[in-house]
Subunit: 195 residues, 2 copies
DNA sequence: CATTATGACATAGCGCTGCTATGTTATGGA
DNA sequence: TCCATAACATAGCAGCGCTATGTCATAATG
């Protein structure tokens, strides 16, 4: 029942339908009380929806193969992140909703940790400066990507501008961390090309 | 009456009070109809509140003096942007609310234009590469800053982490655009120090 | 000057929201 | 067998944004 309601909420989100209590349970056979039995109320449902969003993101990121080019892998994580957001914009907005519960933090941290380890791998492989702080780099990388994706998802920036903007931003952040500019750009561009 | 209601809405936003129709007009002597007479409804009120937010931001940015160091000025605009957001977090969130009207775009574009001209000035002054695209650089710069500020405003990142993160990000983007790393860092750090 | 049109105001009420109180039913353990 | 527990459905609450309606002051018009 929990899973059914969460999936239905995600579907309604994707269909741009307003996710209200009565609209959510309509057609499921369940009554409005199901939301209170399983989630304790609408905030609990939204929390579960955000968890679902982070779970889907984690699945996406897990699908990014680890190649011999750690900078490419770092960029590929960003590409997967962007595709995940643009494939389900409303879910992405719900994940970072202003009224989000801090109980969702662990799920977000788990996906972020993938970025930190990828940055550490790039440093340990010699692509980035030895004194590179993986946490700091990953934070700057994520924040910049989140800003770009948020503006695209919101319609402020057109979707077709995302690849070049994200590429230039990633190259800037990674070359500042010590990578060779030309080699870095090649790695990042290959990630966006799907290689 | 318009200004009174908008200011009261901004105040309620700052006080973390829910801005509802009845709560907004309470104490003003006006009835709920005032919102419909002057704004056409709550969406119109929110649009006016966002306009107010961009007006305040524009005032902040206009207060940034133009010095002999265009890279410092660029960073100073970012600092002012961040301070404006952190001084009124709820207003900042309202400005970039998911349900924002596209009619607010001109006000947002006007503030963004300041960043583009500052980037062009840095390029024309020889601090950035001659082939630097001011619009593209400003977009990356703004998106990265927006991502950082959004995460701080939302409580995902602590406020004290913003200066170092923003500094490193700005230095990375500006050095990628051709500025000298050491000189760039000095300019950006001076901007954050309030020089 | 008298009349009328217009805009701002207040009141009452509609449909919707999330939520709660209450009653019912089914399942599992003492 | 009896009962505690959990999940269910129904009805109704206060609050929300909004609208219909009536009132009143102001200003333009013959």
């Amino acid at each position: 029942m929990r899973g059914l309601l969460v999936e239905r909420a995600a579907r309604m989100l994707a269909d741009r339908e307003p996710v209200t209590l009565r609209a959510l349970v309509e057609g499921t056979g369940a009554s409005t009380m199901a939301v209170y039995t399983h989630f304790g109320g609408m905030p609990g449902l939204w929390s579960a929806v955000r968890q679902e969003g982070f779970t889907r993101l984690a699945t996406r990121l897990d699908g990014v193969a680890r190649t011999g080019d750690p900078v490419h892998d770092l960029a590929a994580l960003g590409v997967a992140y962007a595709h995940n957001a643009l494939d389900a914009p409303e879910l992405y907005r719900a994940m970072f909703d202003a009224r989000a519960d801090l109980a969702d933090a662990p799920a977000a941290d788990a996906t972020f940790e993938r970025l930190v380890t990828a940055a550490a791998r790039a440093r340990d492989a010699g692509r980035l400066a030895a004194d590179t702080d993986p946490l700091g780099l990953a934070t700057r990388y994520w924040a910049a990507g989140h800003g770009l994706v948020s503006l695209v998802v919101q319609g402020v920036l057109p979707a077709e501008s995302l690849p070049p903007l994200a590429t230039d931003t990633a190259v800037a952040l990674l070359t500042a961390a010590g990578d060779d500019p030309a080699r870095c750009r090649e790695s990042v561009q290959r990630a966006w090309a799907g290689g």
